[in-house]
Amino acid sequence: MLQEESDLSLIIAQIVQKLKGSSLYGQLERQAWASLQRPEIKLESLKEDIKEFFKISGWEKKLQNAVYSELSVFPLPSHPAAPPEHLKEPLVYMRKAQGSWEKRILKSLNSMCTELSIPLARKRPVGEQKELLNKWNEMGTDEPDLSLFRPVYAPKDFLEVLINLRNPNYENGDSLSFRTHLGLIQVPLKVKDIPELLTFSELFENEHVRIGQKVLAEQDSAAAQQYIRQGSPTALRAELWALILNISSQPEDILYYEQLKTNVIQHDLLVDSLIYKDVKLTASNDDYYFVFEDYLYQVLLCFSRDTSVLDHFAYNSASPPKSYIRGKLGLEEYAVFYPPNGVIPFHGFSMYVAPLCFLYHEPSKLYQIFREMYVRFFFRLHSISSHPSGIVSLCLLFETLLQTYLPQLFYHLREIGAQPLRISFKWMVRAFSGYLATDQLLLLWDRILGYNSLEILAVLAAAVFAFRAVNLMEVTSLAAAEAVLADLSTLKVMPLLQIFLFATVT
């Protein structure tokens, strides 16, 4: 009892500390000062009156939403003596693996840099700055020569790393039991089983727009999150997501975005070319997203320069790559994070932003939403950790579901050299963006927000395999299996999940 209490007070203290540094604090302070003018605020009962005022005027709700927002990413309380690395990732072997993966990425980036003789960053001459400013809204046209650039890594490279992950403390033994995991992922992480996953399949078809409108009117993040577990009506989705992610476009947010834009204009980063290349290779060719190409540059180029993103590394197993000012290698005073936001984009990264363009057409809002989605969810899809929503757990969950509930299919695919994870990995890493039709994708992401978890990605991946099982049983090669699963654009997410979860349990 005492431990729980002290855990709770620790969490409260930490959240208070965090919020004290936010703009909300300043606003609340100003509101409190301004409220002194009001007749209902009496000196004798100052504290209670101001609290009451906050409640009536909706500021208490805003504070609630902010606290709720912090709680969603807050790591579980740990031992007071645990070092900060434990908050990022409690398991040593995972941390080590992530560390060496990062080294590889940075090495690859640096060698590209050296090969092409391009600096990691450079200040743009004034003429170039003017030009870029002029074509800020149409960076998609007139692109630079990108032929020599290649993505730093692609999902399949990352998969190879995950396949080789091993827990040195775990004795697998030579004897094969029925529990032996025959998939590609060979680490002993705990994953949910179907009964725990049934919450994803609320059977629900009614029109619930009216309830959604009420939720929006209340401006309550927690209620919105509950509500959206059943999917969002198209017209309310943009507002609901903003409410759940606690994004409200304040003037300072817009200013911040403009500041980032100025950074883009003034300095050119090597990663910019990687972003360009990625957009040109993926979103520009996509039937749904090609229209928004220019927005993607406006978001991603700014994102690379946003140092506030560094905050999320406190709970991300990854660490931002460090680079050194020319000639000062190893000297910590000359170390900078590169890119400034610490996130090196990989092949397909821009597809995290693309679906959001269907919801937000104002660049700074689009930017804020994407940034929040990244630091809450997407980062877990490309860093090595033991978190239940981390990609490693998702892979394991996927393979376990398949092996447990579709053993015939699983064994057959293994036999023909088509390990299912090799096909589904890219879906999960991209959170299915670019694979599902947009309206279905948004319904899927509704649930990610609603349950604050990415596990649904693994369940959906398994459901897709289950759906196409008949055809898959007949293929005799990896290429043929890929072909059967190449086109997911006609799939309907919720019916698929429901069929899988209910039919498999019975």
Binding site: P233, V291, D294, T438, D439
Partner: protein, 423 residues
């Protein structure tokens, strides 16, 4: 069953030929006995011309109405719509109601248009009212964006002035006629780009009017960012959405072809603008298509051997108001992308299923009422016979309740008009 359908075509497109062959139809030449002829507009002109024409027999069907140009020529379309509106006004129909500025409330869906040189002086009067406006000049008889240009100064069209001494515009023949329309310089932009809507509408008969709309229309995007800047008036990549033009642009992409499905458009608009205004927009689109057909119905030669599949071009402005730009008698059957090919193949397939029932030798005396199951991706847009059965006085009540949207207006499954709440 007397035998297989014999077909002829002037248009060598695989989406057509594959559809004929899959039905087991037999290809013949035009001189032989044929049952189905997919003609070019030139051929239909010959078939129905006084000199070279011939009578079609009961077992022959063609894919154009003889005087389709009443709808598909830019000048005639506008003439017919203007005439239709005046007639409604004369009868005191509520549809012809105007607002305090004299603009039609329900029938203002064609941008202000004049014929040149005939209406030159009227045009000048209008131009001078808003001298900073931009106008678009289009040759009446051409397609694919050919010969179109934008103007914002009277001097740019001096040669169409009737008084002009240096008029090189000698020929008054309709071939050289132009229409000049107020350019919609505030189109709805998505991703900063201008786009238009291409919708397919099948008409099986004009009197009574029976028409179907293909559910799978698409948006055609310009590859270049839109700007109303006068310096870019000459840049056709900014202004004209025709694929025939866009595909020559540097940034043309052969995978998606700059096309979006109408359902993407709907998703985007609902997500960013809300459901009511989106439903209202789509309802209005259906409305203007039906009104345009009603406008030409009285003058159409409703030959029973004919059906026609039109390509409607519609632009949406930034107030979410749709404008009818033009109607094409021979919408392109060329496929610019793989998706396109599938779409057009299915379009022809569904069209043939409606026009040539059961794929058997046609009898043009049939009632042209196909069963619901064969519609495929078409849905009934307007069926005059069924609509009339409901009584004319419902017209005004439903029309002012237009904001109910297509879903509210969808009548139950009695084979009646599906999309409309109005007649």
């Amino acid at each position: 069953m007397a035998g297989k359908v014999k077909w002829v075509t002037d248009i060598e497109k695989s989406v057509l030929i594959n559809n004929f062959e899959k039905r087991g139809w037999v290809q013949v030449t035009e001189n032989e006995d044929w049952n189905f002829y997919w003609m070019s507009v030139q051929t239909i002109r010959n078939v129905f011309s006084v000199e070279t024409g011939y009578r079609l027999s009961d077992d022959q069907i063609v894919n154009h109405f003889p005087n389709h140009y009443e709808l598909t020529r830019k000048d005639l379309m506008v003439k017919n719509i203007k005439r239709y509106r005046k007639e409604l006004e004369k009868e005191g129909s509520p549809l012809a109601e105007k607002d305090e500025n004299g603009k039609y409330l329900y029938l203002d869906f064609v941008p202000v248009t004049y014929m040149l040189p005939a209406d030159y002086n009227l045009f000048v009067e209008e131009f001078r009212k808003s001298p900073s406006s931009t106008w678009i000049m289009k040759p009446c008889g051409k397609a694919q964006g050919k010969g179109i240009f934008l103007i914002n100064k009277l001097s740019q069209i001096k040669k169409w002035s009737r008084d002009s001494k240096t008029s090189s515009f000698v020929s008054q023949s309709t071939k050289e006629a132009y229409v000049i329309s107020l350019y919609i310089n505030n189109p709805l932009l998505i991703g900063g780009r201008k786009f238009d809507l291409r919708l397919y509408v099948l008409v099986s008969t004009y009197r009574p009017l029976r028409c179907y709309m293909y559910k799978l229309g698409f948006c055609r995007f310009c590859t270049v960012k839109y700007t109303p800047s006068t310096s870019e008036l000459d840049n056709m990549f900014v202004h004209l959405t025709n694929v025939a033009i866009q595909k020559h642009g540097e940034d043309y992409n052969h995978i998606h072809g700059g096309k979006w499905t109408v359902s993407n458009l709907r998703l985007y608009l609902e997500s960013t603008r809300g459901r009511e205004v989106t439903s209202k927009l789509f309802d209005e689109v259906h409305w203007i298509i039906v009104q345009s057909l009603k406008a030409v119905a009285p003058v159409m030669n409703n030959d029973k051997h004919c059906f026609e599949c039109y390509g409607y071009d519609i632009i949406i402005d930034d107030k979410l108001k749709p404008w009818l730009i033009e109607v094409n008698a021979s919408p392109s059957l060329t496929s610019s992308t793989a998706n396109d090919r599938i779409l057009k193949y299915n379009l022809i397939n569904d069209t043939l299923n409606i026009a040539v029932p059961n794929g058997e030798i046609p009898d043009c005396k049939w009632n042209k009422s196909p069963p619901k199951e064969v519609l495929g991706n078409y849905e009934i847009l307007y069926d005059e016979e069924l609509a009339q059965g409901e009584g004319a006085d419902r017209e005004l009540r439903s029309r002012s309740g237009q904001s109910l949207g297509p879903r509210a207006g969808r009548l139950r499954d009695t084979g009646r008009t599906v999309l409309t709440t109005w007649k």
